[in-house]
C-alpha cells in the first residue's frame, strides 16, 4: 500500500500538471505497465487542470495497492450543476482567458472517462466537486 497527497491551487496555470508529473515518475519507478501509466496520466492531468480552471483549490489523494490505483480529487469550487451535461464532448464553461490558452475544448471529462476503468463524480453547487478514478493493474 502506498499513499500520496497533492495540493492544487485554483487559477494557477503555471503549476498545472505537477501532480500528474509526480505520479508518472512514481508509477514508472514501480514498473507499472507503460500502457496503464499513459492512461492514468491523461485522466489525472485532466482532473487536475479542471481544478485549476474551474475551482478555487483542491486536494488529490492517491492510493496504490497491488490490484489498483485509486485517485480522489476533492475541490472547493462552484460545483457542477448538471454532471451529465458536463460529461458531453464539447461542453465547456471555461472563461475567455482560459480558452485563449487552448483549454476549454470540453474534452477533459471525456478524456477522463476514456482513460479510467471506473469514474465517479459527485458535486454540490457552490461547495465543490469530488472526482474518483480507479484503474486496475492486472487485466
Amino acid at each position: 500500500m502506498m499513499h500520496f497527497e497533492f495540493q492544487v491551487e485554483g487559477g494557477n496555470f503555471t503549476k498545472a500538471g505537477a501532480a500528474s508529473s509526480q505520479l508518472k515518475k512514481i508509477l514508472k519507478q514501480l514498473n507499472v505497465d507503460p500502457k496503464i501509466v499513459k492512461r492514468i496520466v491523461v485522466a489525472l492531468y485532466e482532473a487536475e487542470v479542471n481544478i485549476v480552471a474551474h475551482a478555487y483549490k483542491g486536494d488529490i489523494i492517491i492510493d496504490i495497492d497491488t490490484q489498483k490505483i485509486g485517485i480522489k480529487l476533492i475541490d472547493e469550487g462552484p460545483g457542477i450543476p448538471d454532471i451529465e451535461q458536463a460529461m458531453q464532448l464539447g461542453y465547456s464553461t471555461a472563461s475567455p482567458s482560459v480558452r485563449e490558452m487552448g483549454f476549454g475544448a470540453g474534452m477533459g471529462l471525456p478524456n477522463i472517462k476514456n482513460n479510467s476503468d471506473e469514474l465517479r463524480i459527485t458535486s454540490e453547487v457552490n461547495k465543490g466537486t469530488i472526482v474518483e478514478l480507479i484503474t486496475y493493474l492486472n487485466q
Partner: protein, 112 residues
C-alpha cells in the same frame, strides 16, 4: 527521423531543449486545443501549434512527445523556454502557417 534532422530539412529554428534533438519522431499532431492533444497525440509525435506557454511543455512531457513546432513566427514565452530546457524537449519554430508546415512534415515522414 530525429528532431535535428527534421529541423535541418524543414529549415526550422531551434529555440530550446537541445538535449532532445536526438529524439526520434514517429508522426505529427496538429492542434491548438490542449485536451485534444492530451487525449489523442501519441508518444514520439511532433506537436504543431501556435500556443506558446509552459502548459504546452507539461503536456509534451506527460505524453512523451518528441518536439513542439511553433507556427507563423511565434516564439516561446520565457516559462515555456525554461521548461523545454528542463525537460529536454525541443521547441522549434517556423514562419510557415499551420497548414503548410503540417503538409511539409507529412510529406517528409511519408517519403521514407
Amino acid at each position: 527521423m530525429t528532431v535535428s534532422e527534421l529541423a535541418e530539412q524543414l529549415n526550422l529554428r531551434v529555440f530550446s531543449g537541445n538535449e532532445g534533438l536526438n529524439h526520434e519522431i514517429t508522426n505529427g499532431y496538429t492542434s491548438d486545443l490542449l485536451s485534444d492533444v492530451m487525449g489523442h497525440a501519441e508518444a514520439g509525435n511532433a506537436w504543431i501549434t501556435l500556443q506558446t506557454h509552459r502548459n504546452v511543455m507539461a503536456i509534451s512531457s506527460l505524453k512523451d512527445l518528441s518536439a513542439v513546432i511553433l507556427v507563423k513566427g511565434f516564439e516561446p514565452e520565457a516559462d515555456m523556454l525554461a521548461q523545454s530546457n528542463e525537460e529536454g524537449i525541443p521547441v522549434l519554430g517556423t514562419n510557415d502557417e499551420t497548414f503548410v508546415i503540417s503538409g511539409k512534415l507529412y510529406n517528409l515522414l511519408n517519403k521514407q
